[in-house]
Amino acid sequence: MNAKTTDLATLSPRGLLKRDATAEGLQYLTFSLAGEEYGIDILKVQEIRGWAPVTKVPNAPPFVRGVMNLRGAIVPVIDLRLRFGLDSMAYTKTTVVIVVTVQSASGSRIIGTVVDGVSDVLNPNAADIQPPPDFGTAVHTEFISGLVTIEAGMVMLLDVDRLLSVEEMFALESVRPAGEPAIAQAA
């Protein structure tokens, strides 16, 4: 039972995603982080940028790298590794910033998230999405909306609104979605 994947060629030159109007069901942008695959609702993804130095914000939690200028808007940049309580990694050429639109109680916000690299656009059928597993009380699973199994392994679908909620981000120091051991990627 494999979900269909869409070629990354759907990305336009500016990194803005073309939504596949003919695709049925939901589309997810998948990315890799510390050897695991995650997916976020493509409708929440505004664009993908390469990493560029940001302006540090004093006394912010470590996972807030700083703020960047997105065509005149001041956008915070979150390091997802640190957000998950993992070790940070040196940024390389493949390090990207996924700019997402997040809904919160106070309206919508634009937030940038630093990830290791983007993978494919996933187009699962609703039937392929399994409910989030129960990892036990020590782990925060409120922001995992489901699991999808693909050829290469498992993708954890993230609820971006909860993951990047400003209220949560500064209430919790870091969260860790402990889960299945990383599955070796197919070649």
Partner: protein
């Protein structure tokens, strides 16, 4: 043709709310049981009258009915048939409030508190000595003439001067002709000789037969305007031709006018359309909040100024364009000239555009006379509210946000600051207390002061409370100002007992936060027994400021130029370490606390040796502090962007901006930094 009234309804609401303000101000200015100020009452009456008329036209019947009562009461007052009692004024004031609510509800298609409306209606009717009315049954139309009649015979003899009022018998006959089949027989008996004829006078009279089922009322309606200017009889016409009793034999030719549609049907149509319009206008009321509005009224002069400046900008642009067309280094001078001009044009334009958002502070101050009037009555205190500087202009956003804090401060002065009259007299003060509200410009900021001549703060109680809660350390020597500042501390002012003890009530911390949210600051100065004064300092414009760029480590920060006093280099021997207070620089004879920003901000790679960096001396809230930075990087005008839109508030940082190289620069919050440094709070 159906005309959509919705387009005028917005204007109706605007002018009605203004009218309510006029009524309120007028009512407050009335001195009950004193000589009647006719002009004042007339103004109030006219305002009510307009609202009644407009609401009727645009279909808000409940408003019309309610306003009618108010208008009737005011009418009696202006004609001297009713005394202007305090009770009447108070009832009218409350009615104005209720009417305001009703209008807001009408505009937003929301529910109104019917109980409140009914209660005020009863009070108004009591004052008018009317019994509460039950809805009257609709008047029954005259039945059409009994079947055996054909129609009506009308005798119409106008007085000589009927036409002087612009009325025209022929017009009236045409109207009649629409009601049925009309036959007209003129009577020329009164015609004088030609030489004596006055063309403007009416010498003719007529006998008219109207065949049809039109009711008597409809015919009387046609002659409604000339009732007093003629002799008129309307009698049913029998189907047997009976010789009518005419005044004199008809001698002119009979004129038959064609019939038209039934008048009755036409009336019905009109009614239906009326109620449809009303329903449509009710639904179309747009939901805007009562407090913040998305629109602004701008004086034409401001718009003209901007238009002129844009014109100049266009000229400069053409200059640059021409220069660019074939440029060589020999024309460098001209280029610099043009760039200078561009700089001036943009600054001027910026300033003037910001002014468009500026409104006089009177829009906030205007609610206070009413507030003070009501509250002083309830608290049994006598107050004289003095307002100055209402025309001082502030940015619209700032105005919207300082309303609530100011209400709070005035309430406090009234409630806790001012003493009851007996106490004041005992203290040797006049029984009437003074609350002063002032607004003025000074050195690039707006100041708003709320002062009173009451008790002032109770410092002993504050000191005790401060020690109890651990905010103050026992044995330390605190200045009066430091103790007074405690009032703004959340820990202190939320305690319930404080409201009696400290002389100021709850919520001062919220007031301060609200002021800080718009980039302002607040201070209190108190003199026991004499009164207290709160000073609020607000930025003139929110969005643009002149900034001093500084480097701290690898980061670039911006210090608002307005707060910069000067920048100095530090000599190590001028610095003292004081236990519990950090490093102090002896600066121009005063102790200046040093803030190592790199420590505060966790900046990497910054200069740590005090002698190798720079100290920027800044001032806010009447206090100074020295900010230690690596180096100065130049000054530029920056537009302020909020961090909170996508992120959150960061302490020590007032906002962000995009620098020339595209990087984000953080703007320092000087007031906040100074507070951080203050050992007490």
């Amino acid at each position: 043709m159906a005309i959509d009234l919705a387009q005028f309804i917005q204007t109706f609401f605007e002018e009605s709310f203004e009218g309510l303000d006029v009524m309120e101000a007028g009512l407050l200015a009335l001195e009950p049981d004193a000589a009647v100020d006719l002009e004042q009452i007339n103004t109030i009456f006219r305002a009510a009258h307009s609202i009644k008329g407009g609401s009727g036209t645009f279909g808000f019947k409940n408003v019309t009915d309610f306003t009618h009562l108010m208008e009737t009461l005011l009418d009696k007052m202006r004609e001297g048939r009713m005394a202007i009692s305090q009770a009447a004024v108070n009832t009218l004031l409350e009615s104005v409030d209720c009417l305001r609510e009703m209008l807001v509800a009408a505009r937003e298609n929301a529910q109104v508190d019917d109980e409140r409306v009914q209660a005020l209606r009863d009070r108004l009717m009591q004052l008018l000595e009317l019994k509460p009315t039950t809805p009257t049954a609709k008047p029954v139309n005259d039945p059409p003439p009994p079947p055996q009649t054909l129609g009506w015979r009308i005798q119409f003899q106008p007085h000589l001067h009927l036409m002087h009022s612009g009325n025209d018998p022929v017009r009236m006959f045409r109207e009649l002709a629409e009601l049925g089949e009309l036959t007209v027989r003129p009577n020329v008996a009164r015609l004088p000789r030609l030489v004596d004829l006055q063309p403007e006078d009416c010498y003719l009279s007529w006998e008219l037969d109207l065949i049809g089922i039109a009711p008597r009322d409809a015919i009387a309606e046609v002659f409604a305007w000339v009732e007093g200017d003629c002799e008129l009889t309307i009698e049913p016409l029998m189907d047997k031709v009976t010789t009518p009793a005419t005044v004199s034999p008809a001698s002119g030719p009979a004129v038959r006018l064609g019939t038209a549609e039934e008048g009755q049907q036409g009336e019905l149509l009109l009614e239906r359309r009326q109620s449809e319009d009303r329903r449509k206008s009710d639904r179309r009321a747009s939901p805007t909040t009562a407090t913040e509005s998305g629109s602004i009224r701008v004086g034409i002069d401001k718009v003209d100024a901007v238009i002129n400046l844009v014109g100049e900008l266009v000229t400069t642009q053409s200059m640059l364009s021409a220069l660019g067309e074939d440029f060589d280094m020999s024309r460098l001078d001209k280029l610099y000239e043009a760039l200078d001009q561009l700089d001036r044009n943009t600054r001027d334009l910026q300033e003037h555009v910001m002014r468009i958002r500026m409104l006089p502070v009177s829009s906030v101050f205007s609610r206070f006379p009413r507030l003070v009037h009501d509250m002083s009555g309830k608290l049994g205190k006598q107050v004289d509210l003095r307002i100055n500087g209402e025309q001082t202009e502030l940015d619209k956003t700032v105005i919207e946000k300082i309303g609530d804090p100011l209400v709070h401060l005035i309430r406090n002065s009234l409630d806790h600051g001012l003493e009851p009259p007996e106490e004041r007299i005992q203290a040797g003060k006049p029984a009437t207390g003074v609350i002063s509200l002032d607004a003025y410009h000074k050195s690039g900021s707006i100041f708003i002061e709320v002062g009173d001549d009451g008790r002032g703060l109770n410092r002993e109680a504050l000191l005790r409370k401060g020690l109890d809660t651990g905010l103050l350390k026992a044995g330390e020597d605190y200045s009066d100002e430091q103790i007074d500042e405690l009032i703004f501390h959340p820990g202190l002012s939320t305690a319930k007992q404080i409201s009696d003890v400290s002389g100021r009530g709850v919520g001062m911390d919220v007031v301060r936060r609200n002021i800080q949210d718009v980039g302002g600051s607040i201070q209190i100065a108190s003199h026991p027994g004499q009164g207290a004064r709160i000073t609020i300092c607000l930025p003139l414009t929110l969005a643009i400021l002149d900034g001093q760029l500084v480097s701290i480590g690898q980061d670039c920060y911006i210090i608002p130029l307005l707060s910069v006093i000067e920048s100095v280099q530090i000599r190590a021997d001028a610095v003292n370490r004081v236990a519990g207070r950090g490093e102090i620089l002896r600066f121009r004879g005063q102790p200046l606390p040093i803030l190592r920003l790199y420590e505060l901000f966790g900046a990497e790679g910054a200069v740590t040796d005090l002698e190798k960096g720079l100290l920027v001396v800044v001032e806010a809230d009447g206090r100074q502090v020295g900010l230690f930075v690596d180096d100065l990087l130049g000054q530029q005008q920056i537009s302020i962007k909020s961090l909170e839109k996508n992120f959150r508030r960061v302490s020590g940082v007032a906002g962000a901006t995009i620098l020339g190289d595209g990087r984000v620069g953080l703007i320092l919050d000087i007031s906040g930094l100074i507070r951080v440094n203050n050992p007490v709070l």
